[in-house]
């Protein structure tokens, strides 16, 4: 779960936070594409090195480290399974190239986590929804998205209360076989579902009372402003994308970092 922790927006303010979400999204995509195109350690390390200052400028080091810690297990799995499969499929031989490839895949994974962390940690759902609105996504969908995010902490609290109440009535969730345990979740899921239905009715009433849908010309408190800095980032991102494609398809292949050799 801590992997997702790193993707939860926490309020903050920095140059990265203030970027137009559309531009920021493009930037994330460029990094993503670059990471997918290259299968070599050197360019991926370069991308990671480029990302680090962004993390620092956005002041999200702590949250980023948290998501890395959450991703650590998966990263190790990627690294080790690759090594093991190379070793066995090549007939009990392991070369430096194999290690480099396994390392490449692991670094790529970290690059991807980092790029999504930067985007989600610095983009408030409000701005995200605004960007969606600008992209002509109907407001109803947008509203559902924001409401879902808004109710995550509320539902988490409620689930906790329900678990507490049922465990106080002697429900032991961690006893019994797999099927038995599954059945034990009924006393927890049922109140949660019923409460959610009740809640959605109350929400609908409150929405009506707040004039939801009274006019098709809805206004918005927040506006997206596309300024000089945004254009700059936009231009840089597109240039980088072009450069990445050029390097990958029109230049000689990038050499390995480690000299060839046999380890095992």
């Amino acid at each position: 779960m801590s992997l997702l922790e790193g993707l939860r927006f926490t309020r903050g303010d920095s140059v990265v936070h203030r970027l137009d979400p559309r531009v920021k999204f493009l930037m994330t995509i460029v990094i993503f594409v670059a990471a997918i195109l290259f299968m070599k350690l050197i360019p991926l390390v370069v991308i990671l090195v480029v990302q680090l200052p962004l993390v620092v400028v956005a002041k999200i080091e702590r949250e980023w480290l948290k998501s890395l810690k959450g991703g650590l297990f998966l990263a190790s799995v990627i690294f080790i399974t690759n090594l093991i499969s190379f070793y066995f499929f090549q007939g009990r031989v392991l070369t430096t190239e194999n290690v480099e490839l396994a390392l490449t895949l692991t670094v790529r994974f970290i690059v991807l986590i980092t790029s999504f962390s930067i985007f989600f940690l610095t983009t408030s759902p409000d701005k995200l929804s605004l960007a969606l609105e600008k992209a002509r996504v109907p407001f109803e969908f947008n509203f559902a998205f924001i409401t879902a995010i808004r109710f995550v902490p509320v539902l988490a609290d409620e689930a906790q209360s329900i678990m507490d109440a049922q465990r106080s009535r002697g429900l032991e969730l961690d006893k019994g076989n797999f099927l038995g345990r599954l059945r034990k979740y009924i006393p927890i899921l049922l109140p949660l579902i019923i409460n959610s239905i009740r809640r959605s009715l109350e929400l609908a009433e409150a929405m009506e009372s707040r004039a939801f849908g009274s006019t098709s010309n809805r206004t918005n408190l927040y506006e997206l402003s596309f300024n000089f800095r945004d254009s700059l980032v936009l231009i840089v991102s597109i240039t980088v994308l072009a450069l990445v494609i050029y390097l990958r398809y029109f230049c000689p292949p990038i050499p390995n970092l480690f000299p060839p050799g046999r380890i095992l």
Partner: protein, 578 residues
Amino acid sequence: MGIVDVRDLYYTYPNATSPALKGVNLTINEGEFVLLTGPSGCGKTTFCRTLNGLIPNFYNGDLKGEVKVAGMNVADHTTPELARQIGLIFQNPDNQIFALIVEKDVAFGLENLGVPKEKMMLEIDWALKMTGIDDLRDRATHELSGGQKQRLSIASILAMRPKILILDEPTSFLDPIGAERVFNVLKTLNSEHDITVLLIEHRVDLAAKHVDRVVIFADGRIVNNGPPEEIFTLDETRLAGVGIPKMVELTQRLMTKGLKFEKMPLSPEAFIKQLDKLLPKKGIKHVQPSLNAELDEFINEHMSPVIEVNDVAYTYPSGLEALKGVSLVVHQGEFVAIMGENGAGKTTLVKHFNGLLRPTIGSIRVHGENIAKKSIASLARKVGLVFQNPDDQLFSESVEEEIGFALHNFGFKDEVIAKRVDWALNLLDIERYKNSSPFILSGGEKKRVALGSVLAWDPDIVVLDEPTIGQDHAQKERLIHFLMQLRTQGKTTIIVTHDVEFVAECKPRVVLMADGRIIADGPIKEIMTNVEALSKASVSPPEITKVFSKLSRYGCPSDVLDVDEAAYIIHRIVEANT
């Protein structure tokens, strides 16, 4: 013609057999502050929903009669159209906040109306200022306290500039300080901005002094309607099962003894003013109140301790330090109330008693044994915890199964279970619902099922978390009676509450908590007169005690809690001095 005009209103919910509203007639004039009260299920909430068109637009059903709001016939307009005239605020603040940021939530209604941004900013500024939360403007909505959330709900409605505000039990989930702030906001809006307010509320003690008029609702009808001084003294009001403000009760008691009051006081201040008129300015003859020594004063120190909390600190995974070194001993057969404002650590503390939470530092003993290694299930056998909201635990097809659930978990034999379930049904007076679904019951009945589902296994220690929240006067009376019954059975009972009037009636030992610590612990009379500790815990003393805190110059004791005792003392003083 009033700003609200209701004529011969009848309404039946779809699929219901009997009508929820049975001929309501009501006129509210512009600028009035009206309190509407009545027992749970009397149709108050249904009535509100007819005023902004949620009924019949949203709920359908069968509506007869006429509802006019600000000159508009509600039947001809949709709820969003009416939103500019009439704003409805609901009980649960969590279910009416839509945005992640405070100012964005206030903007929600305005955005829906298509108000341009510049105008929107002005309205948001005004609404936040009126509700006193302008400093919270950029905060995340889920970080607010219950009281702040409810004031945000008011601000969000207010921003649309309605002429009428309707609030449906807005303070049910709030502590007294939070509730008082909400009432003060309403008072200001009413008196300084001429907004008509219709407040639906069970907490008449807190609300009565602010309002111009009281409407008593019972069984889908208005049974009484008039100024609070008059309405609360009528027998019909009492018979409708509505709570009477403590000051009215006290004054009436004194009037039957021959004392004459010019005007019915609704607040302790007003009562003292009236009393001062009855007594000479100088040369007061003091009387020694010859009250028999209070039995409650005994703390059962000779009994064995059943719960021992040793210097416990608890920090939630989020880093929130909820308990910061708490020590407490509860003895066999004791009745303890843990009080303090929301977030003081009360619920966190009681969740340690059956192992739901384990202390970060310190230890807990139950019946002399350290519970660190014991499972929740084995502890729950001894410590029965009943939570605040019955909806968080009801899930069975019938009330019988619901009550038997824990007994099955604990491995009781079937014939024992059947016996115990019948016993619990009988104890809580819900036998007639044995085979009904728990979901069709009223709030108070659900609460009793939840209580029964814990008492069924006969735990030695019963812990009730906020038992009075959302309960009407009759339910509270029933609960008091029930608690007394538990007490005579020798059960150790612990309640967590911020309902000070309720505590004043049950007279338990009181443990005051503030900011994760116990700041006072003792007999109720001692705690309710400890002004410093009370204010630190944000608990205000009972109304009667408030009066007596100002009567020391007449030689009165300050630790008076109930109406009988208060009437007795005041009567003797007035007699001695006239």
